[in-house]
């Protein structure tokens, strides 16, 4: 297993290089530079700045410089937030994004799996219809509609919760962003769990367990739960990706000082290094999370593990 994980991490290096190269080309191909504004800089000043940030070098030189830095763990200075290096900016924002993302995934798993289990075990009852109905709506209403509505109701009108992440120091500031981020995932996971458990409950080995006189709860617990979770584990990869994507919107709406919010402003500002840094960071996250998912899958499915 360890060797496998190591091989996977090694295998990710070309992927990451490719990501960097594509992102590098794209940000540099985009018209405009980081220091443009409607107040056009006099040539002397512009020259000084470009020299200070090595923007006067050729693209290959800049790329080489960048890669050299990345290898040493240096993602370069931010062109926009000049007090900080990109590493500092990302390092400061990661905990926030990670915490909200992890909580959202957890919430989605807890609520989604529970709802899915209930719906599957009470198939074709009112409860089942309720869960599937809400889940359907959950995947059909975009986060950017849902999130501001929650702010309006719970923060502005009812004043129960802060309207923004920085509006409070307590854990309550996490609630709305986490719910907004988790919402579509809850819906997906509930649907997936329901379908998967129904499928497993129709399997031959569950029939065997029934023939052995096991109660439904025992069957779910000892026989059906684990295999029913396998499709879910496969979905975790896309779910992580979806949560990362969703974090862009959620951080935007709730003013969360996370990584996702940087991306849009950074690309709008032509903050080349920050855009690259975030892209690299996200790519590394995706690679890492997919590895975790695969290992988890192997852990749960003995047929994969013991091959």
């Amino acid at each position: 297993m360890l060797r496998y994980a190591f091989a996977r991490i090694l295998g990710a290096i070309p992927t990451l290089l490719l990501v960097i190269a594509i992102a590098f080309l794209m940000v540099h191909a985009a018209p405009g530079g980081p220091f443009d504004s409607e107040r056009v800089l006099p040539p002397d000043i512009k020259e000084n700045i470009e020299r200070a940030y090595h923007l006067d070098e050729t693209l290959p030189q800049q790329f080489y410089r960048y890669i050299k830095g990345v290898v040493r763990g240096d993602l370069g200075p931010s062109y926009r937030y000049r007090d900080f290096s990109v590493s500092e900016l990302i390092a400061g924002a990661i905990p926030v994004t990670m915490r909200i993302g992890a909580l959202a995934i957890l919430l989605a798993l807890i609520v989604g799996i529970s709802a899915g289990l209930i719906a599957a075990l009470r198939r074709n009852t009112v409860l089942d219809r309720l869960v599937t109905g809400i889940a359907m709506i959950g995947i059909s209403v975009p986060v950017f509609v849902f999130a501001p509505l929650m702010v309006l109701v719970f923060a502005v009108t009812l004043k129960w919760l802060p309207a923004s992440y920085t509006g409070s120091d307590g854990a309550d500031r996490l609630l709305l962003p986490v719910i907004a981020l988790a919402m579509p995932q809850i819906a997906f996971i509930a649907r997936l769990t329901r379908a998967s458990l129904i499928d497993v409950m129709n399997s031959d080995y569950v029939r065997t367990a029934k023939a052995q006189g096991l109660k439904t709860l025992s069957i779910v617990r000892y026989h059906a739960f684990r295999p029913a979770m396998l499709p879910l584990i496969s979905y975790l990869g896309p779910a992580f990706a979806a949560v990362l994507t969703g974090s862009v919107v959620v951080e935007h709406v709730f003013g969360v000082p996370g990584v996702g919010r940087f991306l849009i402003t950074a690309s709008a500002n032509r903050d080349y290094t920050l855009v690259l840094g975030i892209t690299v960071f996200y790519a590394a996250m995706v690679v890492f999370l997919n590895l975790v998912v695969d290992l988890l899958y192997a852990f749960v499915d003995p047929r994969v593990r013991t091959r």
């Binding site: 007090d83 807890i110 739960f225």
Partner: protein, 544 residues
């Protein structure tokens, strides 16, 4: 035999509590308790992330507001925008207008207790022009002796025309007289720097705990994307008049989210009010909506490198006349924006703005004249014109462009293609002057003087994006620059603006307005054109 422990770990029963535990753990970690309630805390919605706290690296108004709380220049503004003494208690200007000698307050102290001296100013000014600093904003110092040569790398920073005459006497020599020079010295780029900490710590000097500042506040904490927190600088010379103990500048890039935070009671003041909500706020919280004229103009510029516009002033005028500025300012915007019939906004110091010749025409008359000019320019029903308008992506610009499109269609029968572009793409296209025909941009005054608006049309000004070339205009501007007498200077400037309005290199549409939600708790707020609101001038009423 330990046969099944392995599986048990993964059973449903084992897993659920683990989740909850993990969830609690994640929620619980890293949250500090609420701040003490005794002190007076001002929570400012500050818009986008201030890009830097380095006085020489920042350019945005967001950074400026934080920097004006942190540092203090030779001069400052009163809440209502009058220039007044700050770090300098008085100054002497030589008769030729070239030499300024400032007497610093002997009681002024840095936040570490050291005195603020003329050497600190010298160090700061030299650092600003040093090419190695790579500063973006040098307008405040470009007229100082040798500044341009230093920036170009021809002279060393030591050659700059600044000097510490004595510990508390600071002298500046200019290349040429600049009547508004004193107002430039309110800009954070001219604030003094604590040389020892800057040189010792490098970029680290900007970190909380390291930053030594001379303003009413010092840096307590900075979290990128979240907030900049300032606390009272006990050593500040005017500390006893500082009412607010702690100022938090929250990062609020989204106007709608910022407003919601204000409504939820999380902010005491906002940077702006989103256009969609302005009327609603005016209804619901009329006392808390603050608006004032702003030194900024919203305009459509022509690319005058293209003969179709360059050689066709009548067309340009017709296009300008066909726009109903009141409709756009009052209906489409409706936040107190004023129709722009001239280039320089009302409220600009020492200046009487000029207006278009057709400013007072009736709408009908104006449209009629516009059609006539349009025909004279060689267009008409048989030879209709199609124009491309470029603007940067935003709801507001989209709405205005759609309005202008409708007006040009209605009055002149012109077909307009609207092209929205990402801001930097728009800038690149406008600067290239190749595919661009008509573009939307705005110009905001950098200092309270008509010069900041009019200089951008000088032939050699890099910000002259219309490529307007007029020898007459340039010479009027030169003559104004050479004038030390404010009244005579004003005449030249006005004449230049008149020429500009006659030539229509650009169509001013409306003058911006400063608009903020300001809580009833906040006292001492004054409206001013520059939209500067020093925290040290504000105080908070006790909760009722």
């Amino acid at each position: 035999m330990t046969t099944s422990t392995h599986i048990k770990r993964f059973s449903a029963r084992g897993l659920l509590p683990a989740w909850f535990f993990l969830a609690l753990l994640l929620v619980a970690c890293g949250d500090s308790g609420p701040p003490s309630v005794q002190e007076s805390v001002l929570r400012r919605g500050n818009g986008a992330e201030p890009e830097s706290l380095d006085m020489h690296n920042a350019i945005s108004t967001e950074a400026g507001d934080v920097q004006r709380d942190l540092g203090e220049g030779l001069l400052g503004f009163s809440p209502t925008g009058e220039l007044r003494a700050a770090a300098a208690e008085r100054w002497v200007i030589s008769d030729d207008g070239l030499e300024y000698t400032f007497s610093l307050r002997p009681e002024a102290r840095w936040s570490n207790g050291e005195p603020v001296t003329a050497a600190d100013f010298v160090y700061s000014f030299r650092r600003l022009v040093d090419p190695a600093t790579a500063a973006l904003y040098l307008i405040s110092v470009t007229n100082i002796e040798n500044a341009d040569k230093i920036i170009a790398g021809e002279l060393s920073p030591g050659a700059l025309g600044v000097a510490a005459v004595s510990t508390h006497e600071f002298r500046i020599r200019l290349n040429s007289p600049v009547p508004y020079f004193l107002s430039l010295l309110t800009h954070p780029s001219t604030f003094p720097l604590h040389r020892a900490s800057v040189e010792r710590l490098g970029d680290e000097h900007l970190r909380a705990g390291n930053l030594v500042s001379n303003g009413a506040y010092k840096l307590q904490e900075r979290q990128v994307g979240s907030h900049v927190e300032l606390v009272r600088n006990e050593y500040y010379w005017d500390n006893e008049n500082t009412k607010i103990d702690r100022v938090v500048h929250y990062v609020t890039p989204e106007p709608m989210a910022e407003l919601n935070r204000f409504r939820a009671g999380e902010l005491d003041m906002t940077r702006t009010i989103p256009p969609e909500s302005f009327v609603q706020m005016k209804d619901e919280r009329p006392d808390e909506v603050r608006t004032s004229p702003s030194l900024a103009v919203y305009y459509y510029g022509f690319n005058l490198t293209k003969p179709s516009f360059r050689d066709n002033p009548k067309l340009r005028q017709a296009l300008s006349m066909a726009i109903d500025r009141e409709t756009i300012a009052d209906e489409v915007m409706g936040r107190g924006e004023t129709a722009a019939y001239g280039w320089v906004p009302d409220g600009t110091a020492n200046y009487q703005p000029r207006r278009f010749s057709y400013a007072d025409m009736s709408r009908k008359e104006r449209h009629h004249t516009a059609r006539q000019l349009y025909r004279e320019a060689g267009f008409g029903e048989n030879n209709p014109l199609t124009i491309e308008v470029r603007f940067n992506t935003s709801n507001v610009h989209q709405r205005i462009a759609a309005s202008v499109q409708a007006m040009w269609k209605e009055v002149l029968g012109i077909g307009t293609v609207l092209i929205n572009e990402e801001f930097h793409v728009l800038l690149a296209n406008v600067e290239q002057k190749d595919i661009t025909q008509v573009f939307r941009l705005n110009w905001s005054g950098e200092y309270n003087d008509a010069h900041t608006f009019l200089s951008m049309f000088e032939s050699d000004n890099p910000s002259n994006l219309t490529a307007y070339q007029s020898v007459e205009y340039d010479s009027l501007m030169d003559r104004a620059a050479a004038q030390t007498d404010p009244d005579r200077r004003k005449v030249f400037l006005a004449e230049a603006e008149g020429l500009l309005l006659n030539d229509h290199p650009a169509i001013p549409i409306y003058f911006y307005v400063n608009k903020s939600m300001v809580s009833k708790r906040v006292q001492g707020w004054g409206d001013n054109v520059l939209n500067y609101h020093y925290s040290q001038h504000l105080s908070l009423a006790a909760e009722e």
